[in-house]
Symmetry: C2
Subunit: 217 residues, 2 copies
């Protein structure tokens, strides 16, 4: 049985931005700062990733716990891996997280400038691939076998996989802020709801969780 393609914990603003403008090495989310991720720091998983103690509590935790179960590989875009653009000046950058990653599976990084694979200190293999969503998914299934494939972001990567109709399940988190600038998730996805059943749950933390589950065909 072929695994599903899943997106989890993907935060957007009320105006649909999944990241702010002006990303840099000091600002992974650009001018959005930590505003899109504050809800996540309050969860057990989010706290652990950022080296804090956390305790499971409510709806935010319930959703975040689904992130890793059954996943065999993550596909991410260049901008989730690095602040730089274009050809690599050198290959010393090994991800925002350094040698201790939040990942428990291999990672495929989509880039027009592939570089050699490497393995982080905690044993996560990063491969670099110049590929369409369909090609990348085929490569991911080689690694994942029957397990699920997670699309890790950023915005462009999520949007491209949605546009190519390759996503089975998406969990969005709407944060009640108006960012005004950045990368919009929804551009080019008119009518997306026709392919999905959508559920919405409001959390006491202020965010709204939405799940998009592919309709059976």
């Amino acid at each position: 049985m072929t695994g599903q393609v899943r997106i989890h914990n993907f935060a957007i603003s009320l105006d649909g931005f999944g990241t702010g403008a002006d990303q840099s090495a000091d600002a992974p989310f650009g001018h959005a700062g930590a505003s899109l991720m504050q809800w996540f720091f309050g969860t057990r998983r989010g706290a652990a990733i950022h080296g804090m103690e956390g305790a499971a509590r409510g709806v935010d935790d319930a959703f975040t716990e689904a992130w890793d179960a059954g996943i065999g590989v993550e596909i991410m875009g260049r901008n989730k891996f690095a602040p730089s653009r274009g050809p690599w000046e050198d290959e010393s950058w090994r991800g925002w997280w350094g040698e201790q990653t939040p990942f428990s599976t291999p990672v495929i990084v989509l880039t027009h400038h592939p570089r050699p694979a490497f393995t982080t200190g905690d044993g996560v293999e990063f491969r670099f691939l110049d590929a369409t969503p369909t090609e990348a998914l085929a490569a991911a299934r080689e690694i994942a076998g029957d397990a699920d494939v997670r699309i890790g972001g950023g915005v462009t990567t999520v949007r491209d996989f949605l546009a190519a109709d390759l996503v089975d399940h998406m969990h969005l988190v709407e944060v009640p802020i108006v960012l005004g600038r950045g990368e919009r998730l929804w551009d080019g996805l008119e009518g997306l709801q026709a392919r999905f059943d959508v559920e919405s749950v409001a959390s006491p933390s202020g965010v709204v969780h939405r799940t998009f589950t592919r309709r059976r065909r």
Copy 2:
């Protein structure tokens, strides 16, 4: 005590469009059709406005019932009143609703092309005003006295009043559809959340109700 400025039942898509593209006399919401208002038809008030029988049920009804209480006047934009643009070809158009309106108070229509006031068959006075939001609000308060002023839409009018920081309370309804085209609510409103306390409630109907309540200064 000065009345509040309130917005109610204002529906937007996931991508922030309050109306679709290509509005016409046959299509008040353009290519969005009735998709932004289906949730409303299921409420007692929405059913009544459209000549159907309805029964109060749950969270959607609770929100819609707040629409008229304490309101002394509505301000609306030209596009909520009419599909035409520019100078009036004639003055036979008296609103999408005809002589039986959903309104129980006078209405101010903002337009760069004022025309004489008239009163509908059910006794609602429509006045036409070429004015900034601040000027229009002053005119509205003359009519409303201490009662509240409702900003009735469309998108541009709501956005202009938010940008001018004249809104005390806003109730949005997020419909889980991706419209792709139309009039965006959020443009130019970066950082809006700093002025409001935001609450979110998911309805079994699939929509999410959000209230923006001005913070006390």
